[in-house]
Symmetry: C2
Subunit: 218 residues, 2 copies
Amino acid sequence: MDEKYAFALRKLALLGAIDDHISISSRELGETLEMSQQSASKRILELLNAQLITRDLGTRKQRIKITPKGVEEMKREYNEYRRIFELTDHLTIHGEVSSGMGEGGYYICQEGYMTQFKEKLDLVPFHGTFNVRIDPNEISKLDVLRSTAGILIEGFSSEGRSFGNVIAYKARIHNVDCAIVVPERSHYVDILEIISPYHLRRTLSLNDGDKVDVKITF
Amino acid sequence: MDEKYAFALRKLALLGAIDDHISISSRELGETLEMSQQSASKRILELLNAQLITRDLGTRKQRIKITPKGVEEMKREYNEYRRIFELTDHLTIHGEVSSGMGEGGYYICQEGYMTQFKEKLDLVPFHGTFNVRIDPNEISKLDVLRSTAGILIEGFSSEGRSFGNVIAYKARIHNVDCAIVVPERSHYVDILEIISPYHLRRTLSLNDGDKVDVKITF
DNA sequence: ATTACTAGTAGACGAGTAA
DNA sequence: TTTACTCGTCTACTAGTAA
């Protein structure tokens, strides 16, 4: 995205153009962007062309709304700032113990992954995965995590099945070493899958619903 | 700040130029900014001129560090994004009950303020202020709060003393109505001063050090 | 009121090059 | 190798104005 579009997009977002269409004339937009009506009009055409906004052009005033693509572009910039101001040397994600679907456990136990966990993380997973449901307020911390370079656990093929790359992040839960494992090609979910040399539920006496802090170190 | 400077400043920050001087040639900066060496050199001179960065220009490579002013400018942009993505209709600040210095209580009890609290907040403070020490991880939420339009409680003069403007924000602590009061001209502190028609310590059975969630509604 | 075209100007950019 | 000057080009802006 052209950097100059970010400014206009951000000001539109502050006026509420993410949730709804907002009525704003090119003159008014020009005022908030500190430019002429003509330039603001041109900027709107550029944003439309870049598919960052949509517009209803009525006879009176145009109505503008930011597209999902526009929101994504802004989030990218937002996440850069988060990395600058929030990331020191660690990131803490709050959540609660979840029994999850247990699907991750099957993948993680594959020999092809296990050898790499030992080599690259110096960690032999005890048993399956430990699942943490991320506090809804902190889902966006996943963006920050995923924009950070983790440890690449390479995919492989075994018995005609292919297993994809996995990104691992070293972490600690209540001072017990562990690692978060995220399939490289996965949709965002609110569950952190965690491996540890210990049986975390037993070691930390945790049950479903108990609050935990996952501290990722960089 | 010229908007185009923000991009360069942000990329420098991501390279670590907030904490330390970083070695970066104009050619390298040009690569990360996707522009020529010449333009990157010019951009550096502009940033220097705007006092957003400082530079050691050695014989080999220049070393660049972002100034406090530069950091402030970035924070302003960061806070705009926070308002866009973090602020829905409320903001929750975590903290713990603190006995504070009790100074706020004296000011707040002034007749000039009290009448306005009743009119503008529909709230007759019970007694002094209730102090919450903000969780260190959430101090920056104050930036977000202060960049939000609160309710202006006008200053006044009484018995030869002048009392300044105060900004109030309606809030709830564990479902009890209250309001945060912030002197307009004050340095940042980690204490929220809160007024409520109830004696919060007694009503909620709170003692120093107890964790509380302050939910600000907009 | 609007939006947005055209024309003229100021400013941003990169190539060449000096130090 | 550096940084950064000059200069030509090309883009971005605003004023004027049409629809």
